[in-house]
């Protein structure tokens, strides 16, 4: 029981950190649907670095840096070139899927290093995830930078008139967000399941993407949601935990079904008149000046 719960929280750690990265980008108006691709890059290159150098630290740093670079690439397409963010994001996913399979295949197999020590049986990154949640909530809602980020995501024109550089703010967010996604990928391949095999994430990046919509762009709901989704994911890996209820494949669809339900609820008139629009108004729209 305890074991199952720990595993669930460990799974939710990866969802939380990756989804926080996506959340920052989306609050600034940039949608990155290629989150799975960014995580694959971070996980694979972090894994290779750690395996060849024997240093966890270097592995994580490389994972984070690679994530930031991919974020920068996405930023270049969607901010500087003003292209379609969904197209760019899908490109990043397909690229990540193909390229990491190619780069990583010689390293297939276990990492073969001493495991990262646990705290009360939990991965230390779980606590990092909680700290990150609080920090990002604080930045977004209590600081001037956060106000700028939210403004750019709601209405870039207004932000511009108020003297804020839309491009700079958005770049900051996609690069920072990419770093978090890369970090999440590295946590997966170095700590959660330190074995490399092709396409090992199995759609965890897409769960994180769904989580952002589910969270209504609120870091705390995101944290709660990721614990819920982590548990459901764990159930899909161990369907025998609640025997006879559902197969693993059905369990795996539950997070998406919940997200669909939440999105449906958010798009109702009742919700909008009561809570206002939760979605960043300019999400996914390129800001190109004439």
């Amino acid at each position: 029981m305890w074991e199952f719960f720990i595993r669930s929280l460990d799974a939710s750690t990866i969802f939380t950190i990756a989804a926080l990265g996506e959340l920052i980008g989306q609050r600034s108006g940039i949608l990155n649907v290629g989150i799975e691709g960014v995580m694959l890059f971070g996980a694979t290159l972090g894994f290779i670095t750690a395996k060849t150098t024997g240093s966890y630290l270097l592995g994580f740093l490389v994972g984070i840096a690679v994530g930031g670079l991919i974020g920068l690439l996405h930023g270049f397409f969607s901010i500087t070139l003003g292209g379609d963010q969904v197209v760019s994001g899908m490109g990043i996913w397909i690229l990540g899927f193909g390229l990491t399979t190619y780069i990583g295949s010689p390293y297939t197999g276990p990492l073969g290093m001493e495991r990262i020590p646990t705290i009360l049986g939990l991965s230390p990154f779980f606590f990092v995830a909680i700290a990150l949640t609080i920090i990002i909530w604080f930045i977004l809602s209590k600081t001037s930078l956060g106000l700028r980020i939210r403004s750019v995501g709601e209405s870039p024109e207004v932000a511009e008139v108020s003297g804020i550089s839309v491009a700079k703010t958005r770049y900051l967010c996609v690069v920072g967000g990419g770093m978090l996604m890369g970090f999440a990928g590295a946590i997966f391949s170095l700590d959660y399941n330190p074995v490399w095999s092709y396409n090992f994430l199995l759609g965890r990046g897409f769960i994180a993407l769904a989580l952002v919509f589910f969270s209504m762009w609120n870091p705390f709901i995101l944290l709660g949601g990721s614990i819920l989704f982590g548990t459901l994911w764990q159930l899909s890996l161990n369907p025998q935990f609640i025997p006879g209820l559902m197969s693993r494949y059905k369990w795996r669809t539950v997070p998406f079904a919940i997200t669909l339900g939440a999105l449906l609820l958010m798009s109702t008139k009742w919700f909008r008149t009561k809570w206002g629009a939760a979605t960043p108004e300019a999400l996914g729209q390129p800001y190109v000046k004439d």
């Binding site: 930078l145 106000l147 700028r148 709601e154 008139v161 003297g163 629009a277």
Partner: protein, 570 residues
């Protein structure tokens, strides 16, 4: 003159730069002349360094003295001279109205003063010091604030978040308490009241405008430019706004020029008025010396007749018959509650009322855009209660929607294509499913010529037209179909005097030709001067239907506010 010739460096301490050599742009050489020396060539100044600009403090300048002066401002756009040698002065503590028709260059001038455009020629002085704005930020730093016609606020954020956005003292960690306190001081000073923690989407249009005004003041604005401030407001909100403007001009800091084309507002509130026509200043006088007639004459360039003679046309057959019509609004509430009326050939039926009392539902139910909940509509004896919109066009209903940008036209379509929108279904204009573009183009050119639509040609996109010209085009394409029933919703909203007069005359022409007209308007004078029948509407019901001669202003005003005709006469 200037109070502040302080030690700090203005970037105009380099008073002039003489061009010695022009080679590719990186190699431009300038001879810098000191401020006290002779002035050199002013054009083509290339400022290579960011120079700090310091704000002129208005406290240092006495009330009534010039704070901002523009000299010889010229701005050309391809094909037009938007501003032609404009001289313009604003004094401390005055409300200065800038009046002009659409396209007279008001907005261009204000955008230049706010740094959104750079003038091709001319100088701007603040407190006697020459300034150059590279962007609105420079203007803001020098104490100029602008409230745009279209709101520049973030609906999902709270009032205070909108106000402090981009403010240099916002702090790394937002100090909302301090900001709130400072903003409340401003509110108190000018007598504004506003819930700072409300979300902007929850506010009314007037409150949103107030947020923008406060934002500008909090940013340190001493010269506040209001662009068409009353255009989106209800009459009551306009009153509130005018009170606020008065309050600000009494204060020692705020100076409020504002641009509008609403003559009564100008006369009521401003101290001085500058009239622009075709990019030039035609006069600048104290408002006390002006009358509605004289200003209109300056604005349009000829006498304008405000009183339109009500032309009696021989009453013909009944065209439109509406019985007990009801409809619900988008929110699902009953917005139109059983109205009955009929209009005959040669009549204008005016519905007077404040927006949101069911006019929109009435119009849409008649145009076939909204399914009625009950009642019936007859056109020339045919039941069209549930006919679709296209069918109604074919039967001879012409509809000019209130929102000419969103509903009346497609912004990125050319004028020809926009005219096609009312003709594509006409057998005369297509053959075997293919549009006869030549014929439509001819028609468009005829329309442009007959209605005096100012445009380079028929192929430019609709969004390039000014409001008045776009409205002319829309009205023209509807009228050219010779409709039996013409529905016009707020036909002169946001139009200048000249265009308004034009549109009203066209309505009268339509009536003379035997059409019947349903006129929806918030402008009481418009309804009263044009209509043969006046029906004040209140909460989805007609408060009575008066013959045009009996519709007295006070009576109609009271009925619009919800007093039923019977109660009034009793």
């Amino acid at each position: 003159m200037p109070a502040c010739r302080s030690t700090s460096v203005y970037y105009n301490h380099i008073r002039s730069l003489e061009v010695i050599d022009i080679t590719p742009i990186e190699y431009r050489l300038f001879r810098v002349t000191d401020k006290d020396s002779q002035t050199g060539i002013q054009d083509n100044v290339l400022l290579t360094e960011e120079c700090p600009v310091q704000k002129v403090l208005i406290q240092d300048i006495k009330r009534g003295e010039t704070i901002l002066e523009a000299r010889g401002i010229t701005k050309r756009f391809p094909g037009v001279v938007a501003n032609d040698q404009i001289d313009f002065k604003i004094r401390v503590g005055e409300i200065h109205a800038v009046l002009g028709e659409n396209g007279a260059g008001k907005t261009t001038l204000m955008k230049i003063l706010f740094g959104q455009y750079q003038p091709d020629e001319g100088e701007i002085f603040i407190g006697g010091e020459e300034v150059r704005f590279k962007s609105p930020l420079d203007a803001i730093d020098l104490g100029i604030g602008m409230v745009h016609q279209h709101r520049k606020l973030i609906p999902a954020h709270s009032v205070i978040e909108n106000i402090i956005l981009g403010h240099p003292h916002a702090g790394t960690i937002l100090n909302l308490k301090r900001a709130e306190k400072e903003v409340l001081e401003i509110c108190e000073k000018y007598g504004f009241s506003l819930d700072l923690n409300a979300k902007v989407w929850q506010l009314s249009e007037g409150e949103k405008q107030l947020v923008e005004i406060i934002k500008a003041l909090y940013r340190g604005a001493e010269i506040l430019i209001l662009d068409e401030p009353s255009s989106a407001l209800t009459p009551m909100e306009t009153e509130k706004l005018l009170t606020s403007i008065k309050a600000m001009s009494r204060g020692d800091l705020a100076i409020v020029p504002f641009i509008t084309h609403k003559l009564p507002i100008v006369l009521r509130i401003s101290d001085r008025v500058t009239v622009l026509r075709k990019g030039k200043v035609v006069c600048c006088i104290d408002t006390s010396e002006a009358t509605e007639q004289s200003l209109a004459k300056e604005m349009v360039g000829r006498e304008v007749i405000f009183r339109i003679e009500r032309t009696k046309v021989e009453k013909g057959e009944t065209i439109l018959q509406v019985d007990d019509l009801s409809a619900v609004s988008d929110k699902g509430v009953v917005a139109l509650n059983g109205v009955s009326f009929s209009i005959s050939e040669g009549e204008i039926f005016g519905v007077a009322g404040i927006s949101g009392n069911g006019q929109r539902e009435l119009v849409e139910a008649l145009a076939g855009l909204r399914k009625p909940e009950g009642g019936s509509v007859w056109l020339d004896g045919e039941d069209i209660t549930f006919a679709d919109s296209l069918k109604r066009w074919q039967l001879g209903i012409g509809y000019v929607p209130a929102d000419r940008i969103a509903m009346g036209s497609i912004a990125d379509f050319s004028l020809v294509e926009n005219v096609t929108m009312n003709y594509y279904f006409d057998h005369e204009y297509y053959r075997r499913g293919v549009l006869d573009t030549k014929k439509i183009r001819e028609l468009t050119n005829d329309i442009i010529a007959e209605y005096d639509v100012v445009t380079p040609n028929a192929d430019i996109v609709a969004k390039c037209l000014s409001g008045g010209n776009l409205q002319k085009l829309i009205l023209a394409r509807v009228l050219s179909r010779k409709p039996r029933l013409l529905i016009v919703d707020l036909p002169t909203q946001g139009l200048d005097v000249g265009a308004t007069e034009f549109v009203r005359n066209k309505l009268i022409d339509a009536k003379k030709e035997g059409a019947c007209v349903l006129l929806i308007s918030e402008d009481l004078d418009e309804v009263l001067s044009l209509s043969d029948w006046v029906a004040p509407i209140y909460e989805g019901e007609f408060m009575g239907i008066l013959p045009g001669e009996d519709a007295k202003r006070e009576l109609v005003g009271a009925m619009m506010a919800g007093i039923h005709l019977d109660e009034e006469s009793a």
